[in-house]
Amino acid sequence: MAKLSGLFDSFDNLDQIDVNSLITWLKPAPQAVQVENYLANKILYPQTIPMTEEDMKIDLAILREVLRLNGPKNTNPANALLRDNTLLNLTLRKILIPERFLQFVPNLVSLTWAFVDGLLLTRRKEDKFQDLWTIVTVGDMDEIVGSVILPQFSSRNGEMDLDVQGKVYKIRTGALMVVPCGKDRCEVGYKIKNGQVLGKAESALELYGGKLGIMVDGRLV
């Protein structure tokens, strides 16, 4: 049977999403029954799109939860080629966003943020290399669109000075910032108070840039 596509076509376990977890992504929190019915209608009519900003927020919350459900499960590197996941390449530190998702969430920042929340919130902190990720949209042509820095702040008073191409940005604990850098390679320097990136409080890096630029997620997890 011919079928029209939707954002969640790639997942067959939407009904296993815990509604209470879904609600935690939504502010103000709607009633559980309302969100559960929305999700069930999404399963019933997968091709539909949100018309309002509120409905888009629910779609993004569903995406976060379904990514979490379908994220990498096998953390034993000995058994893995790409470590068991098509959305996250743990070996190359790449977040792989299907290009067609942009048809349903055109805002690349929101989409990337959903992927970070869904796939990396429970990352292994002891693996310092997981502080940096390259964002790739995958489709007919794969495209690197930017990078994500996940500084490990050790307290609520943490602060990061990020120098991108000579311009300095301040990121405090809990903040999320997207710094534009359209170049293929972006030279970045950082200095962190009460925290570190790649195990260091101060260093310089060369990161992938692109349409997204550099996303810095300073949340304490």
């Binding site: 049977m1 079928k3 309302q34 559960e36 019933l44 539909t48 799109i49 018309m51 409905d55 888009m56």
Partner: protein, 381 residues
């Protein structure tokens, strides 16, 4: 640019179908193959074995559970027959009078003073099975007590459902926008198929089972309640059949969604008439109540097999064109139906941040603009 939408058959008018009639217990079938029957003809008789019914008299009388005994009109251990007065509370300053009628023949077994519930042992009784339709007997299965009748019927396809094939007299509970809770359900509805409104609550489903209702047709249902009926999963089409003692067909979706006018208008014509519903296959059959339908039944030598749902046939993709009749399946304006007046030539940026091709729809009450992808074309057969 051409725009495509899913197309679904919701109502099939006057088709020749097989209607299954099943004895409610062990018994005998009294008709033969190729025999013509009319709705009132008795096609079999069975004995319904005894069981029990629980009636919450405290709730029905609106009194404290420990006070229920004061209002009983029969002693415990006594027999009572269907329609007789079981309990009565006279009216007063704080409330009107309330009467509870015995829903079935039985023996008053036990009253729980903590919960106010009365256990009533049902007496074995003889039950006649009427044909319910104008038709011709196609096959008989004596062992299962099942008779298949070829008849003319209109068929409604819901979105999803639960429960095996059941039948009964259609009883309209309210308007298509009604939110139906347990206050709508009474023992008088025993054996009936209830036409609910835009949402049926869990307590109404529980009360219906308790009252012996055979089925419910509703516009919407809460996902949590459906999940409880359907074995915990939400997958469409359903992979496993379920039955919780009642058959439910949902015509629109999850949450409060008024029943579509196409289905509601049709069902209202069948108020107080015999219908059958198959929750697992989400089919509602409305047999013709006109004797003239027999001419078509007789002339249909090899009726098309309509058992089961051919999803390929009822779910298609079609090009959307002005004049088409559509139904909104997206979250905004969910369930609204109307005619396509126009389809935009260019994309519109929506408040959600998405750009989409919009279509202007004229409903009974207003004109709305909806993304084409949130529409479903309705096909009439």
């Amino acid at each position: 640019m051409k725009q495509f939408v899913p197309q679904r058959v919701r109502v099939e008018k006057d088709v020749i179908v097989r209607i299954a009639r099943v004895l409610s217990g062990k018994g005998t079938i009294s008709v033969s193959v190729n025999q013509e029957v009319k709705p009132s003809d008795i096609i079999g008789t069975s004995n319904i074995s005894s069981g029990f019914r629980i009636l919450n008299l405290a709730t029905l009388l609106g009194v404290n559970p420990k006070d229920v005994g004061k209002y009983l009109k029969r002693d415990l251990g006594q027999r009572i027959y269907k329609g007789e007065l079981l309990a009565y509370k006279p009216g007063g300053i704080f409330g009107g009078k309330k009467a509870v009628i015995a829903p079935t023949d039985g023996l008053l077994d036990f009253l729980n003073p903590q919960s106010g519930e009365m256990k009533m042992t049902v007496l074995p009784k003889k039950s006649d099975l009427p044909a319910g339709v104008f038709g011709i007997i196609e096959s008989i299965d004596q062992e299962k007590g099942k008779v298949t009748i070829i008849a003319q019927a209109s068929r409604i396809y819901g979105m999803f459902g639960s429960g095996k094939l059941r039948d009964g007299i259609l009883e309209v509970l309210g308007k298509r926008e009604s939110l139906v809770d347990n206050s709508f359900i009474s023992p008088k509805s025993e054996g009936h198929i209830l036409l609910s409104g835009s949402l049926i609550y869990k307590n109404a489903i529980s009360e219906s089972i308790s009252c012996g209702v055979n089925g419910i047709i509703t516009g919407g249902i809460n996902a949590k309640d459906y999940r409880a009926m359907a074995g915990g999963r939400l997958s469409f089409p359903k992979k496993l059949e379920n039955d919780i003692g009642i058959s439910v067909v949902v015509t629109e979706g999850f949450g409060s969604i008024p029943m579509g006018l196409d289905i509601d208008d049709f069902l209202l014509q069948y108020n107080n008439r015999f219908v059958s519903i198959d929750g697992n296959n989400r089919i509602i059959d409305l047999p013709s109540y006109e004797e003239s339908s027999m001419a078509r039944v007789r002339s249909t030598k090899l009726p098309p097999i309509q058992d089961g749902v051919d999803l390929e046939q009822i779910n298609k993709i079609t090009e959307l064109q002005p004049g088409a009749y559509v139904r909104v399946v997206g979250n905004s304006y969910a369930g609204e139906q109307g005619k396509v007046l126009a389809i935009d030539e260019s994309l519109t940026l929506l408040p959600s941040g998405l750009s989409s091709m919009l279509s202007t729809i004229e409903t009974k009450r207003r004109k709305i603009k909806v993304p084409v992808v949130n529409l479903e074309a309705i096909e009439y057969i």
